[in-house]
């Protein structure tokens, strides 16, 4: 009996110690490594740059793959990447890219111009079904290839192993910017041509990090690519943990289990106060608004009603109280930092009296006769609070609104409907982040009738004058000539047509431990923080031999 009791006692003492320490690194095996630990909400759904279209996949793709050119994360200027330089033809419609010598893929093979031709052709291949093929649609012969009338893309040619010529069918001033987006990454044929989708098992690119481990349910590890043409990254490894629960992730960050977070839970002002060294804020080329379905009543053909809604909402209080100053009131479509942003655009001030007046003009005096309308938002606490604030403002002038919060899949369907019919949602939250720093990234996609539907113009806005201005601006090379056209298009959409309920501009907020150095916030989104420039001050002791 005594022996049993002794054994139980020993187990009680030893077991907790083992549980807590069995994985702890032993002092004699410690070494200092450069390891960044970051959180992603979930597994990146698609690691193929051609078919990915979400920020999680972009985050990984930007670390694993590189394109011909890239954005400088701070200035947003186009800088060399795989291409070390480029020349324009005299008419500006043909660009010759000179590739950097000795660029290698992660499998050790040297990258040549044939890989560029393969990657771009693949993006345009209808069989691949790339989600971002529009970035190359201006290339000569892209349309013929896409419709099966040509076997190859006329405008993409490899002059020699180190030179690629791209000819455009029409001028596109921001074409180089499009080549800096993740979809234009250069991928190796032997991996991406594999019918068994070899890249799903082992993605191979020529970027600064290679995928060294990928457990789809728990996390992935990126290892520094020693032969990276830009020089081996300072970080040895990046541990990416998939943590869906944002509250749990916040706790993990607080206890020191994560170095970087781009989603915060709780009061941001409290977090900023609690973690002043970690909280970083920067500009972001993104806007937040509530859209109207302009193809269906009550918003169809009723400008006065749309203006009434715009005058009824107090943007300042929305941004300061609901969003704690993390958003700034919007007066138009373009956000500060975008070329062509118009600080003088009048937009809509908070004016409930004017809203009531316009509501009467719209045929609903005092809101009489206006059937309650659903405001669709996807499940997210902040969005719900914003919707409730707008609901209160609108109800104050007599516009009855019901907030309808649904899961993202349902929201998407309500918004998009089917290709033939507009979506069920007549009034909905929407957001838009620019993929490239050009007015075209907002105005062309959101307003042009060519993009009605899921391409971007989800509200089905259509104004021939605006279409003409946007097309004209797309054909001009010099920004100073383009800007007046964009400003006029924006003015018409905002002041004449009240195309949607303009609300706020995004800012970027992230939490990064102060010992992580080399951080540059990029206005194109947190996934563009250049990981290859980061390092951990003092390194991190690890058990790896």
């Amino acid at each position: 009996m005594l022996l049993r009791r002794a054994l139980v006692l020993v187990a009680l003492v030893v077991l907790p110690g083992w549980l807590c320490r069995c994985q702890a690194p032993q002092a004699d095996k410690l070494r200092v490594e450069q390891v960044l630990r970051m959180r992603m909400r979930e597994n990146p759904p698609d690691i193929d740059p051609a078919s990915s279209a979400d920020s999680l996949s972009d985050r990984i793709n930007l670390a694993v793959h590189d394109g011909l050119v890239d954005f400088d994360p701070a200035s947003l200027e186009v800088v060399p990447a795989v291409a070390q330089s480029w020349d324009y033809s005299s008419d500006g419609q043909e660009i010759t890219f000179h590739l950097r010598p000795g660029v290698r893929f992660h499998n050790g093979r040297v990258l040549t111009s044939a890989d560029v031709v393969y990657s771009f052709t693949r993006l345009l291949d209808p069989k691949v079904g790339a989600k971002r093929k529009e970035i190359l649609e201006a290339i000569r012969g892209a349309e013929a290839f896409g419709t099966g009338k040509a076997a190859s893309v006329e405008g993409i040619q490899a002059a020699d192993a180190q030179t690629v010529r791209i000819a455009l069918a029409r001028p596109l001033p921001h074409f180089l910017q499009l080549l800096a987006t993740p979809a234009a990454s250069i991928v190796p044929k032997e991996i991406y041509d594999d019918p068994a989708k070899g890249y799903l098992a082992q993605p191979v690119g020529c970027g600064p990090f290679r995928v060294s481990r990928w457990e789809r349910s728990s996390g992935m590890e990126l290892a520094a690519f020693a032969d990276y043409y830009g020089g081996r990254p300072k970080l040895d490894r990046i541990q990416v943990r998939f943590i869906e629960n944002p509250a749990g992730a916040m706790e993990e960050y607080r206890r020191g289990g994560l170095d970087y977070m781009d989603e915060m839970v709780g009061s941001e002002s409290a977090i900023a106060k609690e973690l002043p060294q970690d909280y970083r804020k920067g500009p972001m080329l993104g806007s937040f608004y509530f859209g109207f379905n302009l193809a269906r009543p009550p918003f169809k053909g009723n400008v006065s009603l749309r203006k009434a809604l715009n005058y009824a909402v107090d943007r300042k209080s929305l941004c300061e109280q609901t969003f704690e100053g993390t958003l700034t009131p919007a007066h138009g479509i373009l956000v500060p930092g975008t070329p062509g942003y118009n600080p003088d655009l009048k937009g809509y001030e908070y004016d409930p009296a004017r809203a009531r007046e316009l509501l009467a003009q719209a045929g609903y005096p005092g809101g009489k006769g206006f059937k309650p309308i659903d405001l669709w938002v996807n499940n997210n606490q902040k969005l719900l609070e914003a919707a409730q604030k707008v609901q209160a403002d609108l109800q104050a002038v007599g516009i009855p609104v019901r907030v309808k919060a649904v899961d993202f899949a349902t929201f998407l369907q309500a918004l998009q409907g089917t290709p033939e019919t507009p979506g069920e949602a007549l009034f909905y939250r929407y957001g838009w982040n620019a993929d490239y720093p050009d007015p075209d990234a907002f105005l062309y996609w959101l307003l042009h009738s060519r993009n009605i539907g899921p391409a971007g113009n989800i509200g089905r806005y259509s104004n021939p004058k605006v279409d003409q201005l946007l097309d004209q601006a797309r054909g001009l090379v010099r920004m100073e000539e383009r800007i007046p056209l964009y400003r006029e298009a924006e003015r018409i959409a905002v002041e004449d047509d009240a195309a949607w309920l303009f609300l706020a501009d995004y800012t970027q907020r992230v939490l990064i431990k102060p010992y992580v150095k080399g951080v540059v916030l990029c206005p194109l989104g947190s996934m563009r923080i250049p990981l290859d420039r980061l390092w951990i001050e003092g390194g991190r002791p690890t058990a790896k031999p």
Binding site: E215, S218, E244, E251, R255, A409, Q413, Q416, P454, A543
Partner: protein, 321 residues
Amino acid sequence: MSGFLLRRILGVVPVLWAVVTVIWMILFILPGDPAAILAGGFRADPQVLARIRAEWGLDDPAPRQYLHYIGRLAHGDLGSSYLQGRPVSRIVAEALPATVILAFSALLIAAAAGVGMGLVSAAKAKRWPDDLLSFFSLVLISLPVFWIGMMLMLTFASRLGWLPALGYGLDGWIIPGTQIRLPEARHLVLPALTLALFSLGNVQRVTRASLLDVLQQPYILSSFARGAGPLRVHLRSALRNALVPIVTVLGIDLAALLGGAVATEFVFAWPGLGKTIVRGIADRDLPVVEGGVLCLCAAFILVNLLVDLCYAWLDPRIRLQ
């Protein structure tokens, strides 16, 4: 015995068919277009949408989609994930070990602690230790798992810093010859404890009630009369005979733990099947949801079968007919 097993296994087929049919119908009528999510959300290209719908048969009429689905299942094919493009069987096989490890660890803790607490309660019936333990059990039964998990995390991970808050750990031991990686032990503690607390109250209450019932039996009274001590009587004579209802509740709890690990897996970023199913529902990745639920149902049925077998082992008077 073998006849019993065969009958039980054959009986499983219509149950599984009914389960998969109901799941399929629920997912089918659920709003949300999988093609839209697959095609990249807001900026989905209509051509890509059309191609995806055709490729996955999402344009087919409902009866054809259902027959296609049942036909695939009959051939043991769970299909491929819309989002990941990988076989569902592989996705389920990757996630299932984590859930099983979590559920069994929780069950072990709940069984050991719950039976222990039940023994104390029964021994000290209607005195303060019994009142205290019964109150504690009632509290545990009433608290949501999500809340328990967050509180444990805040206390032991954030405040005290004794244990990691989240995840499976990246350096767990891989079982030789398999792809199954065990979690790092310290990562297992908090999620297993959370789930165990969920089950603990039930086990304590059933153990107490069952023991009190057995302790009224004449043979127990005669054991006391022969001079046996209370500890010996409780552990040697009473507990074995009180085990049948305890095993029943543990069996039910294990099945519930396998399925009910969803909240715990979400809170602790545990890479199990529950998390995979929830993610699948959010993404309308129907094959993953169907495959995952089917797997959980099969586990539930298997656990019930094992519980039945345990009855006969514990009480030879029970015959498996």
